[in-house]
């Protein structure tokens, strides 16, 4: 090939690559900067941000909203977080339902919808995630950022050769230094994600949280699924809740298991160990996360139907059942909301005089009947001082 032809080919290739980079950069930027609208519910008395509890976080990408729903009457203080892993949408949607709908009659509820905000600003290379998903509401569609399991490398890079957890010194996968549920209890001068965890621990301590709940979803190939993982301080509540829910509300059972004492960095272990709060973690099934999944799109993310995952189940390769109905988002969000309410109910039975009374949060059957979007309010009809952005 002549050198002139070669130069032309190189120039054309460069133009093509630059064009692709510009187009995709706009798409990445739009995703990173997209703001989700949240309407503060009737009991939201104050909306702080994470940076209010730990100054270095202030005005960074990690500075998520902290919704405080205070009844004004003394009682228990619960703290619920969604968005630990933003590739698990039932978690942030459930937390948002609480923030927009819950009415507190006694005690205090604190909610973080996007706990690891940075991880919600990136999707995972090689996995072809959609960048956004939409939830149908009674007034139109509401758009959300799809995220990753790990903090955005733009905010935390490079990873170490191996991640040594603080303070246990347990060696974990290098990328888990960006995994918000492997970096508890956090470190004041640690990595980006460790500092975010540290900030959350400050909320738990400063607000004197009694019970902490971390919403999650899991692939069906993963053994910890459809369960409440409990720190030993919360085993009675978790056991009772799983029995009651399986008996009274859910078609498919929810189990309970103990937080392993030797596995560090997870909320159900470290929050319980490093604060006075009882720590629980809820898991629902999300077929979208399975490696054997078929077409990767918003439909699978929200409907949870996949013939490939179903076939893997027929071969006994899964830890949770799946049929042609799949695991739709209504079922997953419904399980989280009902489990949180059941935990509150059992807490109240076990702690007379220090109750928390949460009303107007839809339960499992209601969410399946009405849809998740039914519980999101139209920002256009609200006063601007009730609107917040995630």
């Amino acid at each position: 090939m002549s050198s002139k032809k070669l130069i032309i080919i190189k120039l054309l290739t460069a133009v093509l690559i630059i064009t692709a980079l510009v187009i995709s950069a706009r798409s990445f930027l739009a995703h990173r900067n997209y703001k989700e609208t949240v309407v503060a519910g009737p009991s939201v008395t104050e909306v702080k941000t994470l940076g209010d509890y730990f100054e270095p976080i202030k005005n960074t990408v990690a500075d998520c909203n902290i919704y405080i729903l205070d009844s004004g009457k003394p009682g228990a203080i619960f703290f619920v977080i969604g968005g630990t892993h933003p590739e698990e949408p039932a978690a942030n949607l459930s937390a948002e339902i609480l923030a927009e709908n819950a009415t507190l009659e006694k005690g205090k509820l604190i909610v973080a919808i996007r706990a690891n905000r940075s991880a919600s600003t990136v999707t995972r290379p090689g996995d072809a995630y959609p960048q956004f998903y939409t939830i149908k509401t009674d007034w139109g569609e509401k758009k959300y950022r799809m995220g990753d399991r790990w903090t955005n490398p733009l905010d935390s890079w490079p990873d170490p050769e191996v991640y040594v957890h603080y303070p246990s010194k347990q060696m974990l996968a290098y990328m888990d230094i960006r995994n918000f549920n492997r970096t508890w209890p956090g470190k004041k001068d640690g990595s980006f994600t460790e500092q975010v965890n540290y900030a959350f621990m400050q909320i738990i301590k400063q607000e004197k949280v009694d019970l902490f709940i971390d919403f999650h979803e899991a692939e069906l190939e993963y053994p910890v699924i459809s369960t409440i993982v409990a720190h030993e301080s919360g085993r009675n509540i978790a056991a009772m809740a799983s029995m009651m829910l399986t008996d009274m509300e859910f078609e498919k059972p929810i189990s309970m298991e103990f937080s392993p004492k030797s596995l560090h960095g997870l909320s159900h272990r470290e929050v319980g160990d490093y604060s006075d709060a009882i720590s629980l973690l809820f898991e629902t099934p999300e077929p979208f996360l399975d490696r054997v999944r078929g077409i990767t799109d918003e439909h699978l993310l929200l409907e949870g139907k996949d013939p490939f995952v179903q076939r893997a189940g027929e071969f006994g390769l899964l830890y949770e059942t799946i049929d042609e109905d799949g695991w739709p988002i209504e079922v997953r969000v419904g399980r989280h909301c009902s489990t949180a309410l059941m935990v509150a109910q059992i807490w109240n039975q076990m702690n007379p005089g220090k109750e928390i009374k949460i009303k107007n949060v839809p339960k499992y059957a209601e969410i399946i009947k009405n849809g998740v979007g039914h519980y999101f309010k139209n920002p256009a009809n609200m006063d601007s001082d009730r609107i917040y952005y995630e």
Partner: protein, 429 residues
């Protein structure tokens, strides 16, 4: 969905075959396959997915590039020639010790870079020259260089196949050091002694005349210090994790490279060496970029799921009986792409069946580079015969001579697969 994903797979296979037929090169053929599949699945060109996929192995590529730059600086400073000459001068009367240390020299570049080609290009000719003067035939010498290069690529700390498959399976690349070391060292030593044990002791003067002369001021301190710095930086991150800043492997290699640049007795043209390094790595980095794109499109279209499903529903006995053929052949066909494509579902299957995933992946990650001698790509095999100026026949002489050591290594890996739980005590490091 089965039909759709099946059609996508057919489109990928046909486009790849056509691209290969027209000698586009494996990277371009793979890129076209991904594009064709993307267009079929989306009805357009999903630019965001193509670019996002290209960054899948960004960190791995950076490690690969910086490690190779480091090794090239060691070579250009005369460090490698110095080490080889010292080994010959000290041990030329002890054949087995000479072979042992030469095996060690052959293992270093690939172990640090994760690429067998790095071994062939940096130390292949030097060690090859010594082996010829030790009375080993040209064919056996080429076989030794190729197989030791393959073992070095699989050796820790950098095994690209294991890293790529582990990343796809959300599995930490931790604990692989010992199992990979055991398999690759046994494999390399068996190869060296099986093919090179017989022969005469080398005539020192003749060999030294043939080997390049390192700069006069080169010594063990100058060549050893950069390696020591690298080891100290890696170990310090583990010993003082809460005080040591996070550097990342690429920066560690760059710091070691800088040390080599400073300590080199002759002035090194770093820009020229860096340019040469990048040019020599374009095909391999290109493959990693394109593999990322292909994997993203396959995940998008369901083709990855179909392959995963096909693999995880296979009986385990069948895999034990066939992986020693499937893995090298697939490597010859697709290069690093096989690690995320076949490796990830295999890890899930074996893990679910109760086998130790670290030992399993270690064994598979040694089988794959063996396939670098096989067509259509045969990247390391071809590099070996070109670099050594080999005059024999590729298949009938070179490949045939490799067969017995290859069979030994693959049998060893199969033993690790079958007895992964019994060998789980090796997991660590």
């Amino acid at each position: 969905m089965f039909l759709h994903a099946g059609i996508v797979l057919i489109i990928i296979a046909v486009t790849f075959a056509v691209g290969t037929y027209f000698k586009l090169g494996i990277e371009l053929a793979m890129l076209l396959s991904a594009l064709a599949a993307a267009i079929y699945h989306t009805g357009g060109v999903p630019v965001r997915h193509l670019v996002e996929g290209a960054f899948t192995y960004y960190d791995v590529s950076l490690i690969f590039i910086t490690a190779t730059l480091f090794i090239n600086l060691v070579k250009e400073s005369g460090g490698i020639a110095f080490m080889v000459r010292k080994i010959i001068i000290r041990f030329h009367e002890h054949r087995y010790l000479t072979l042992l240390f030469l095996t060690f020299v052959l293992m270093i570049p690939g172990a640090l870079t994760g690429a067998g080609a790095a071994t062939v290009l940096t130390v292949g000719t030097l060690v090859g020259t010594v082996l010829i003067y030790m009375g080993i035939s040209e064919t056996r010498t080429a076989a030794i260089i190729f197989l030791c290069a393959s073992m070095s690529a699989a050796a820790p700390p950098i095994n690209l196949w294991a890293m790529m498959a582990a990343a796809g399976a959300n599995m930490p690349y931790v604990g692989f050091m010992q199992p990979l070391l055991v398999i690759t060292v046994i494999g390399a030593l068996f190869t060296m002694f099986f093919l090179g044990a017989k022969g005469e002791n080398p005539e020192l003067d003749k060999i030294l005349k043939e080997l390049p002369v390192p700069p006069e001021k080169m010594n063990w301190t100058r060549v050893g210090t950069p390696f020591l710095i690298l080891i100290v930086l890696i170990v310090a991150g583990r010993l003082f994790p809460f005080k040591m800043p996070i550097l990342g492997l690429p920066l560690m290699f760059l710091i070691s490279a800088l040390a080599m640049f400073i300590l080199s007795p002759k002035k090194l043209n770093i820009l020229n060496i860096a340019g040469k390094t990048i040019r020599s790595l374009i095909p391999l980095v290109g493959i990693m970029i394109v593999v990322g794109i292909l994997i993203q499109i396959m995940a998008l279209s369901g083709a990855r799921g179909l392959i995963s499903l096909a693999v995880v529903t296979l009986p385990v006995w069948f895999l034990f009986a066939s992986l020693f053929i499937i893995l090298p052949v697939s490597e010859g066909l697709l290069q690093y792409a096989v690690a995320p494509l076949l490796g990830v579902p295999l890890i899930f299957l074996f893990n679910m069946k109760g086998f130790n995933p670290v030992i399993i992946l270690s064994a598979m990650a040694v089988m794959w580079p063996i396939g670098d001698i096989l067509p259509p790509t045969a990247v390391v095999g071809r590099a070996t015969v070109i670099e050594l100026d080999y005059s024999g026949r590729y298949y009938k002489d070179f490949l045939k001579t490799c067969l017995i050591p290859m069979a030994f290594i693959l049998a060893l890996c199969t033993i690790f697969l079958v007895f992964s739980n019994q060998l789980s005590f090796l997991v660590g490091g």
